[in-house]
């Protein structure tokens, strides 16, 4: 009887052992790798298209000899034990924008076993040119808006470390001129004087009204010599020992002409600069940059008073706070993607303006704020376009040096919101998806 029990135990033990070994099947150590077929496929597709040959071939008729050449090229490229299947899919989009893929043609050299992998590449037809046509600023409202970029050769900049006003003007021209019907570089302070007089006009433009004026000189603003001491318009540029009067004039003209005045970095209109006029040993900003006079915080206050239609008064007292690092808000990020401008997403704001100026000077920023306000400084605006109820606007980018000119460009585009007309990559017949599936035959 016990022998029978022992036999039962033996059977149970052996059964448990056999069942366990049946389930615990491990791969052989030599199967730890095979050639990475996906990466081999990806590199094959990319190298075949390095000179555009693959793009040319896949848009040809399936009976064209180029397909035979492609088949031979793939066979010649891959190791003998690797089989392939190359499939080309047409892309088509319906009216709702849903893209569907339809097999156009495929070539292969053998069937696949269990071990295969694939990579794909989206290719565009060499006969198609993708275009991006921006709508001109003011076109939708039938305004003729001219972009003026201050490029004065006789002025120095400040807070634009590493650049000159002239080099920034050139970069800004490249960035923004496609969005404007007319763009003009203001090449000297005397030309700026003409602009302030309303007589600096591009061909075919009747007035300076509604223009955008970008000051690329950072915290300094070029001043025509007429507005300096002894000039014919001294009373509009200088009063009580301060050039803050000139800033008031700028604010008033911004309102009068319905301009958008753009300060690309730092505290707006903090200095005035004219290298021909300010030649004295003390005509420097306190940091060794000559050819300029310090206006101080009175400049911005005077500008805002002018913009608001108030009389000039020299009032000291800064309107800003250094709020530290700030990040683009959702609205700005949307615009970054829309216009294809990608500055670094985190910037440092040391000249964020307090939002009390909105009510004090009848300004509003609507959706033009670029950055999330820091939680510790919820009442300070790092960068925005402040438009006045009675006309005119000030774009103030209160960031620290070194300036990223793309932020100022983005601020303007967010303010005017020109539409960009693009040809669609997914439009039928313009793009095709190529997949190359590779399989390995035989052992690894």
């Amino acid at each position: 009887m016990r022998t029978v029990e022992v036999l039962f135990v033996i059977i149970i033990l052996l059964g448990a052992f056999i069942i366990t070994t049946q389930f615990a099947v491990l791969p052989s150590p030599s199967q730890a790798f095979g050639t990475n077929l996906r990466e081999l496929s990806q590199s094959t597709l990319e190298t075949l298209d390095a000179q555009g040959t693959l793009s040319e071939t896949i848009f040809k008729n399936p009976l064209a000899p180029a397909w035979g050449d492609l088949q031979k090229a793939i066979s010649a490229s891959l190791p003998p034990n690797v089989v392939y299947n190359l499939s080309v899919y047409d892309l088509s989009a319906n009216s709702q924008g849903v893209v569907t893929y339809q097999l156009n043609h495929s070539i292969s050299d053998a069937g696949f076993g269990a071990d295969s992998d694939a990579a794909s590449l989206m290719l565009t037809s060499p006969n198609v040119t993708f275009t991006q046509d921006p709508q001109k600023v003011g076109e939708s409202t039938e305004q003729n808006i001219t972009l003026y970029i201050l490029n004065c050769s006789d002025a120095n900049g400040w807070w634009i470390t590493g650049y000159t006003g002239q080099s920034l003007a050139s970069d800004l021209y490249d960035l923004l001129s496609p969005y404007f019907t007319n763009t003009m570089l203001v090449s000297s302070t005397s030309d700026l004087g003409l602009l302030l007089d309303g007589t600096l006009l591009p061909a075919g433009v009747e007035s300076v009204n509604d223009a955008v004026v970008v000051n690329t000189f950072g915290e300094a603003v070029p001043i025509p010599d007429d507005y300096c001491v002894g000039g014919s318009k001294q009373n509009e540029g200088y009063e009580g020992g301060s050039y803050a009067k000139f800033c008031h004039t700028l604010g008033s003209l911004t309102r009068q002409y319905n301009w958008t005045w753009v300060s690309i970095v730092g505290y707006p209109v903090h200095y005035v600069s004219n290298t021909e006029e300010f030649t004295g040993p003390n005509d420097q900003n306190g940091y060794g940059i000559h050819g300029m006079k310090n206006v101080g915080p009175a400049g911005l206050t005077a500008f805002l008073r002018g913009l608001n239609g108030e009389d000039y008064s020299n009032i000291d007292g800064y309107l800003h706070e250094s709020v530290g690092d700030v990040t683009f808000n959702a609205n700005a990020r949307k615009s970054l993607n829309y216009y294809g401008i990608y500055p670094y997403t985190t910037q440092t704001s040391t000249r964020a303006l307090q939002d009390s100026i909105l009510t004090r000077y009848n300004l509003n920023v609507n959706d033009t704020e670029l950055f999330n306000r820091p939680p510790l400084y919820p009442t300070y605006i790092p960068a925005a376009t402040y438009s006045h109820d009675g006309g005119g606007a000030l774009t103030a980018i209160g960031l620290a040096r070194i300036p990223d000119i793309r932020v100022a460009a983005l601020a303007l585009l967010m303010y005017y919101q020109p539409t960009v007309y693009r040809s669609e990559f997914g439009a039928s017949g313009t793009s095709r998806l190529v997949t190359l599936q590779l399989g390995q035959q035989g052992g690894t």
Binding site: V6, I10, S28, A32, N36, Q51, L70, S75
Partner: protein, 403 residues
């Protein structure tokens, strides 16, 4: 009582036997699992190394075009991006597996690395400017933990042979890819015919520009005939393309003794130019023996559509001899891929040397790294790349060092 004891003893014996069998089997399974896991790590390391080598340019990114110290290892062409390797970085690799493969030149008292196995297939690089295996392993972060090896070989096998029966020079070009003949491939070719002159030989190019064109037949070959004598000295280079795959082949025929030729050596970089030494081969092969050769050198830059444009270089013609320290210097653009064609005349006999600046220009292969012999498990990774628009295979092998 005795029966019960026997029963217990039998059952205990069987139990112990079953346990022993189970432990042995499971131990084997665990060992297999550990081996598999370890091999998997090596395989992943091979993929990592391949990605780093092929998809990063290193630091500085243009290290192949300078003799600057290397701070990061990678072979990607910084201008092309993607799966394209720098033709210059590969030339700075120390491909010698041991010191006996290095070339000593007494004229500069310097050892040089020859990326090719023969003289005359590549410009020799001073060993001090080369990146050796240990440095590369350190920069890749695997020194002492993993070994690796990189093989860069052209995808297409293009062979050129001279047809000996024809009175005029007739060359047979055969193109193979992955072991199969490649029919219908388009050929762009140039022949550099060396002609005697006084005192230096001259080079006549057939055709001048654009290059000659031909196509391979169904067996992957084609005969090309030139209106020159079959016994002439010449260099021939042919670029092959089909369906996005490109290859290159070349052939040299000299009337001069095989031991006489000109050896180009790198002598540093200067303002975007590569300083070159042109030395007599006697200094390498028969030191101490006096020998001279008149030479005529031309540098041709290679365009993206495989056309050659001649570039003026200093000291393009002269006399070079094998006396120690006696050599000619010249300059070529450091960032322009091309071919240096040197014709020479020694004792009235003619010959030529054709060497690439940038490995792709002449389809040079290279192998760099350690020796995997003796390791149980070596993982390999294969990718397709372009070098100077010439298709190459890159194979990276990796293995675990130590126990």
């Amino acid at each position: 009582m005795a029966g019960a004891t026997i029963d217990h003893m039998i059952s205990l014996t069987i139990l112990i036997a079953a346990l022993l069998v189970a432990m042995t089997t499971y131990n084997g399974m665990f060992a297999t699992a550990v081996d598999y896991d370890r091999n998997r790590q090596v395989a992943n390391k091979a993929v990592d190394l391949m990605n780093t080598i092929c998809l990063s340019s290193g630091n500085p990114t243009d290290w192949g075009e300078t003799d600057a110290s290397l701070l990061g290892f990678g072979l990607q062409d910084p201008e092309a991006g993607g799966y394209a390797l720098s033709p210059y970085s590969i030339m700075r690799l120390n491909t010698a597996f041991n010191d006996s493969q290095l070339v000593y030149y007494g004229g500069t008292d310097t050892y040089y690395n020859n990326i090719s196995t023969n003289y005359g297939d590549a410009i020799l690089t001073p060993i001090g400017d080369c990146v050796n295996y240990t440095t590369a392993a350190e920069l890749l972060g695997i020194n002492g933990t993993y070994g690796f090896n990189v093989d860069v070989t052209p995808t297409l096998d293009v062979t050129v042979k001279q047809n000996s029966t024809a009175p005029n020079l007739k060359l047979n070009v055969t193109v193979y890819g992955s072991g199969m003949p490649l029919s219908g491939a388009a050929l762009n070719y140039y022949l550099f015919h060396v002609e005697s002159g006084t005192p230096c030989p001259s080079i006549t190019r057939y055709p001048t520009n654009p290059p000659g064109v031909a196509h391979t037949n169904s067996s992957g070959s084609v005969d090309i005939e030139f209106p020159i004598d079959a016994d002439s000295a010449y260099s021939f280079v042919v670029y092959v393309s089909l369906g996005g795959v490109n290859g290159v082949g070349y052939h040299i025929s000299n009337s001069v003794d095989d031991n006489t030729f000109i050896v180009p050596l790198i002598d540093g970089y200067e303002h975007g130019k590569l300083n070159l030494i042109l030395a007599h081969s006697g200094e390498f092969l028969h030191p101490g023996e006096e020998a001279t050769a008149n030479y005529n050198a031309s540098f041709y830059t290679l365009t993206s559509d495989f056309q050659l444009q001649q570039c003026v270089i200093p000291n393009s013609a002269g006399l070079v001899n094998s006396t120690a320290g006696s050599y000619i210097t010249t300059q070529i653009p450091a960032s322009e891929t091309g071919l240096l064609v040197i014709s020479y005349m020694a004792n009235g006999e003619l010959g030529s040397v054709i060497v690439p600046w940038g490995v792709g220009a002449l389809g040079v292969s290279a192998s760099f790294g350690g020796d995997p012999t003796g390791y149980d498990f070596v993982a390999t990774e294969l990718r397709q790349v372009n070098i100077n628009d010439i298709s190459y295979h890159v194979k990276v092998s990796a293995w675990k060092l130590g126990s």
